[in-house]
Structure formats: C-alpha cells, structure tokens
Amino acid sequence: MNGELILFFVLAIVAISAALGMLFSRNAVYSALFLILNFATVAVFFLLLGAPFIAMAQVTVYAGAIMVLFLFVIMLLGAEQIQHQARRGWQRPLAMLLTLVLLAESAYLIFTRSDVLTVLQPAAADYGSPQSIGMLLFSEYLLPFEVTSILLLAAMVGAIVLVKEDKKSGGQK
C-alpha cells in the first residue's frame, strides 16, 4: 500500500463523512459548511487526478462563490432549522433502503466487473493545465461555451424576474 492510496482513503473518508454530515445536520448552516468541506476534499482529488484548473474552479466558484451564496440565503431567510414534524414516516426508511440497494448494485458492479479497470499512470506534464483547457474551450468546445454564456444570461434574467418587486404588488414585504 503506497502513500497515494493512503491519501486516497483518508480523503475519501473525509469526503464521505462531510457528505454524511451535510445530510444529517439539523442546522442548515452546518450542512452548508460540511458541503464546503466536501467540495474542498473533492478539489484535492481533482489535483490528484491531474486537473489543477478544475480544482481551482471547484474551490473558487463552487466552494467559494456558490456556497457563500447558499450561506447568505440561509442567513437572510433565517431558515436554519425546520420544526421537526414526523410526517410521511415511510419516506425516510424507504429512501435509505433504496439508497442501500443502489449502493449494493454499484458494489456488485464494481466487484464483479470492473476491479481490473485501468490503473492510472502518471500523466503528461501539461495534462490538465489551464492553457490546454482554455485552448479546448475556445476551439473544440466553442459551441458549449457560447451556450453556457447564454444559459447564464438566461438564468440571470430569470433570477431578476423572480425577485424583482412588482410595482403593482408593492405592498408586499
């Protein structure tokens, strides 16, 4: 067992724990923080996999900007907690059961079919560098890139349309 593998397991345990933490925290703020931890851990994985640019984006955009926005909204609404009401009691156990089934299916798949899947070899030097990604974005992936820009524009318009106070219904808070 080499160092990299140990690192992988440690990080994996952290990531999974963080995910579980997010899942089961009563307080939404803690959930968000756990999720940030998870994202950060995944960013390390990205680094391990030779994707520094993506790791950067993960930390700045995801863990940074997006999660801050989440925290902001949680604070803004004061909606950290929801009164506990035991409604629809079968939903939770059923969901867990199904999740377990899904995991069992994945395990079956992994252990019976894919345990010999490619062992990753050290990558080329400029693999995953910002330059190479950038080149790709503006050449091969021009169309998705442009679509993304429109998508963001549309989302922006949508967000504004939703939140903008109507003059007619100005009486509302």
């Binding site: 899942l23 939404a28 030779g50 993506i54 995801y62 929801i82 999740t99 995991l103 989302a155």
Partner: protein, 100 residues
C-alpha cells in the same frame, strides 16, 4: 497507482448520498445542496475518466457542469427567496397543495 474503479466507487457513494439527501430532507435549501453534491460526484467521475482516457474533454465537461450549477443556483435561490417571502417557510412538505 489508484485504479479508476476506486474513484468510481467513491463517486457512486457520494452520488447516492446526494440523492439520499434529496429524499430525506425537508429544507428546500438543503435539498438543493444535495443536488449540488450529486453533480459534484459526477464531476469527480468525469475527471477520473478523463485521466483514465488521457483526454481533457472530461475536465472541460466539469467546467460546464460547474457553470450550469452556478446558473441553477441563481435561479433556485431566487425561487426559494420569493417563496419564503410569501410563506415564511422553506419546508417543502408545506408546498403540497397541488396534488392528486
């Protein structure tokens, strides 16, 4: 070195946990965060496969997923805010007037 199947297993676990979050939480924001976790698991898989295939396209895809996630967050949070304004609650179980 680490086999890709390890990454696959990890991403599968994270994805499942994300899905579980959607299923068991009532707080709309946390549900939303769980969805982000699912997307993140997919991203992990992409990057791992990209590495296995020695191709960059997987990483590019992750980039787009992150951008889309950002867009979704913008709209999603706006929706949640608007609804909170109206109802003073983001318990999605309370939003079950449309049914049948």
């Amino acid at each position: 070195m680490i086999p890709v199947s390890y990454y696959f297993a990890l991403s599968a676990i994270l994805f499942s946990l994300g899905a579980l979050g959607v299923l068991i939480r009532r707080n709309a924001i946390i549900i939303f965060m769980s969805v982000e976790l699912m997307l993140n698991a997919a991203n992990l898989l992409f990057v791992a496969f990209a590495r296995a295939n020695e191709a960059l396209s997987g990483q590019v895809f992750v980039f787009f997923v992150i951008a889309v996630a950002a867009a979704e967050v913008a709209v999603g949070l706006a929706l949640i805010v608007v609804i909170f304004r109206n109802r003073q609650s983001i318990d999605i179980d309370e939003m079950s007037n449309l049914k049948g």
